[in-house]
Symmetry: C2
Subunit: 154 residues, 2 copies
Amino acid sequence: MSKAETATGVKLGRLGDYVGFRLRRVQNQLSRDFVNATANRGLRSGLFSSLALISANPGISQAELSREIAMDKSVTVSLLDDLERRGWAARKRSTQDRRRHALYITPEGERELEEIFAVVSTTENAVLHQLSPAELMLLSELLDRMYAVCVREE
Amino acid sequence: MSKAETATGVKLGRLGDYVGFRLRRVQNQLSRDFVNATANRGLRSGLFSSLALISANPGISQAELSREIAMDKSVTVSLLDDLERRGWAARKRSTQDRRRHALYITPEGERELEEIFAVVSTTENAVLHQLSPAELMLLSELLDRMYAVCVREE
DNA sequence: AAATATAGTTGACTTATTCAACCAATTTGC
DNA sequence: GCAAATTGGTTGAATAAGTCAACTATATTT
């Protein structure tokens, strides 16, 4: 059994037996770090990952994007409005299927993305340099295996 | 390099290089599972973990609880109002320090907590049985090491 | 005893999340 | 080929979450 007490002397009790709890703790902290590190840019939640996915999948549709990051499609609309306003991404009406918007990142968006990735790397490394490269790979693999089940079950 | 493409054919691109991203994915899914599985009880966010921590730390104060789950103390107030209304927890004015509320779980709360833990176990196991016991322990250990750094840095 | 700090509460404000309704374009089933 | 159903995108309303400053009461510090 792993340590059931925190730095402040508060006991975790049975909560400490759940991986989900540990996962959430770490993730919350990483996410707070991210928000702090990028506060000056005023990035709303989901904006960074949307931009990254558009960059990696030029021409992706809003529906696909929504599915991938599990956002309601209405959120995607306003996120895209935001990205277009900033000049970081653009919607182009698809010629094959005229319902769809094909999404593209702009050069400015690409530059911005580059900078944000650099910031994320820095904050992540602050936590991850605790782990050896082998452990890091293992961690990723375990998380992927867990995620694969989640998705399959839907 | 691990797989950079998802089930739907969407590429993760550089996003796939970040452990934080994988962590978030899995955590989001687990958290959705939890919400679905407990939807009938109408548990607001933070209520379950608060109750569990009160159970593990009888007499804990609201401030300590707030710190432990990184909630604003005003949120803790309304969470406690909720828990008292349900009859799952009670505030008692501390006699040593009359500013503090010492928090206690009630027998009903304990029963409810038991049930919720059972539900959580079920949903978590659906994902975790993918991992061997050894891998599970390793995962917990890695997460704890990551979390330890987060906390130390504050 | 005055100044400072901590515990809890309240209310205002901002941001996220969820949901239903709607239009336009496409696909499916006769 | 046409009606019905589905999908992609948009809008707006409703609810929930998260953040913050102000305030009371009690403790602690000096």
